[in-house]
């Protein structure tokens, strides 16, 4: 028995496909059998038609929604129900991401239709004997145990994936149907999206930030850290440090990065005056891009970094700050919703 795989694609701010999107696509592909239809539902607030026409699905249905409404799950829910009404109930499985915006839609739809839903799935495997039964792995009790759950009902199934496991690379395809659907949504006075803002770098945790600055022994020595603070302001990055920096009193205990401190998951890490001992590198092992500034050309951090500069940070940082400021000023003064 084949069933249709229908993906509700997660977007970023309604205008961009992300790793999460492609991750969901990968999961869908893994689930679909040969003769199953792969359908995508995209609710967006500004994707180009070319992007939509290149999605690796059999059918793509897309709806445009203003960004303000896009942020509120209720509108997604209305749109989803309308689209769903068009499908014949054969055998569908609806895939969502577990981000609260989509999870709310999934749960509410499941309740409305009276169909089962499994949330926060980690891994989905097909049963060896019966290919239409799937086994879903979930974590319970704060990752102390895993459970394997399966649907008993076959007509419609709702599944949300734990969004941390959704990652994938871009795929392209040629859908046979790309259809824009105009849906007028009923205004919902109860919930209104106001704004989205980035937390200030002073409050941001180093484990959550996108850019992190790290300071080490090379920074200690009486000179002011003004230039580093300026850099933190521009990049909106919290300042962490190595174990030495903690012991010297430059940073508080919770901002320590390394084997005895926290492991950061930032995209960019700027190491200033850090020698790069293996314990510290342990804390930045997942960081994508590392910039290192150190007086000592033989410092171990230079092995790990993507680009580095040998010199006194007092010379480098002010220059960097100036250069970044110049770039910022040349850009239009758009209110930064968030960096990136």
């Amino acid at each position: 028995m084949r069933f249709n795989v229908i993906c509700y694609l997660p977007l970023k701010n309604g205008i961009k496909f992300t790793e999460e999107t492609w991750g969901l696509v990968d999961q869908a592909k893994a689930l679909a059998e040969e003769k199953a239809r792969m359908i995508a539902i995209v609710v967006h607030s500004g994707l180009s038609s070319s992007e939509l026409a290149e999605l690796p699905f059999d059918e793509v249905y897309h709806v445009k929604l203003e960004l303000e409404k896009w942020k509120v799950a209720d509108y997604h829910f209305q749109i989803f129900r309308r689209i769903q009404a068009n499908f014949l109930i054969e055998n569908e499985i609806f895939l969502f991401s577990s981000h609260p915006l989509y999870q709310e839609v999934a749960v509410r739809s499941a309740v409305r239709s009276g169909m089962p839903i499994i949330t926060n799935a980690l891994e989905v495997t097909k049963d060896e004997n019966d290919s239409s039964t799937i086994m879903v792995k979930r974590e319970i009790y704060k990752e102390k145990s895993h459970e394997f759950v399966t649907f008993l009902e076959n007509k419609q199934q709702y599944l949300t994936f734990e969004n941390t496991i959704l990652y994938g690379t871009e795929h392209f395809g040629k859908p046979t149907i790309v259809q824009e659907i105009n849906i007028k949504t009923v205004a919902n006075c109860s919930i209104k999206f106001l704004s989205e803002s980035q937390m200030d770098w002073k409050e941001l945790k180093i484990t959550e930030a996108k850019v992190v600055i790290g300071i080490g022994r090379g920074v200690y020595g009486g000179e002011s850290l003004d230039s580093i603070l300026q850099l933190a302001e521009i990049l909106n990055s919290p300042i962490g440090g190595s174990k030495v920096a903690d012991e010297l009193g430059l940073i508080p205990r919770e901002k320590r990065i390394g084997a005895s401190g926290s492991t950061i998951e930032a995209d960019i890490y700027i190491a200033i005056g850090i020698s790069g001992s293996s314990q510290h590198l342990e804390g930045i092992k997942g960081v994508k891009h590392v910039i290192a500034i150190n007086n000592d050309p033989s410092a171990a951090i230079f092995q790990r970094c993507d680009i580095g500069i040998v010199g006194d940070y007092q010379d480098v940082i002010p220059g960097l700050v100036q250069s970044l400021q110049a770039e910022r000023q040349s850009e239009e003064n758009v209110e930064h919703v968030h960096i990136g």
């Binding site: 609260p100 709310e104 979930r138 974590e139 394997f148 759950v149 919930i191 680009i307």
Partner: protein
């Protein structure tokens, strides 16, 4: 005066529970309440102190589960209702129906509960209850500010420090997370002796609706395998291992090219351009 309802779930303490590998079952079981639900209750009590409110707590539990009633009574609640449904443990996801049935009998201005319970990690109940009662809901809220009595401002936190702010009108169901507030201590013998009489226990006799989901197996935590940079097969096993560890030779050789030894404007400009490029990536 607001009528608030808090939905609390009795759970097995997830911090202390352990998987017994020998006997392939859970051990070190201790009953407590979901932390996010207690945070919601604490928030509601703090609200009650400032402005008048009426707080009702509703639980749905399996009769086999021991509920620490004294712990609930320490909070300044007006009414507490325990719905005992046999077979609830197996039919998870159906608690929402029970709660909704009960909630239909009252009219609450706002319903608060935790977004996700720490035991089964479903996160289904809040949205399900809201849907069955036809009221709006917002989950994963970490901050609630009262603008006017019936207009609240709530904040949700996304990854990487991004904060979304919504304005909501009551009636609404709000699902909160544990970072809603600092957990306060309530003394054992605080003067809420009178509320002892207000716990009602309803034993439901109708058999529970069988859910459409079956739990096939519970096991120890299995490893989650993520595939990243898989080294090519052409490399020898040692080189493959080094590459995975991040100590590959090629990276070392490249280090000479990527590290500038002079501090001059050109180098700094190069770095800042790279930095901006990376910032744009995300």
């Amino acid at each position: 005066m607001l009528n608030m309802c808090i939905l609390v779930k009795p759970v097995i303490d997830p911090d202390s529970i352990k998987w017994d590998y020998q006997n392939q079952q859970f051990s070190y079981i201790n009953n407590t309440f979901n932390a996010a639900d207690l945070q919601a209750l604490q928030w509601a009590c703090e609200y009650k102190e400032k402005n008048n409110a009426n707080i009702t707590v509703i639980l749905a539990a399996d009769p086999n589960m021991v509920i620490d009633q004294k712990r609930l009574l320490k909070y300044n609640i007006d009414k507490c209702l325990i719905l005992q449904q046999p077979g609830l443990r197996k039919q998870r996801g159906e608690t929402a129906r029970l709660l909704a049935e009960e909630l239909k009998k009252y009219s609450f201005d706002v319903i608060l509960c935790g977004s996700v319970s720490e035991d089964e990690n479903l996160g289904v109940t809040p949205a399900m209850v809201a849907e069955l009662l036809y009221i709006p809901c917002l989950t994963n809220i970490f901050q609630i500010d009262i603008e006017l009595e019936r207009k609240w401002k709530v904040k949700r936190s996304e990854e990487r420090g991004i904060v979304q702010t919504y304005e909501v009108q009551l009636p609404i169901l709000i699902g909160v997370v544990t970072s809603l507030g600092r957990k306060r201590y309530i003394p054992r013998y605080s003067r809420s002796f009178q509320t002892r009489k207000n716990i009602e226990v309803h034993e439901l006799e109708a058999p529970i609706i069988e859910s459409n989901i079956r739990v096939a197996k519970i096991s120890e935590p299995k490893p989650n395998i993520r595939y990243f940079d898989i080294p090519e097969d052409s490399l020898s096993p040692e080189l493959r291992l080094l590459k995975i560890m991040g100590l590959a030779q090629e990276k070392k050789e490249q280090s000479g090219e990527k590290v500038a030894s002079k501090v001059n404007n050109q180098n700094i400009h190069f770095i800042s351009q790279k930095l901006q490029k990376w910032l744009m990536e995300g």
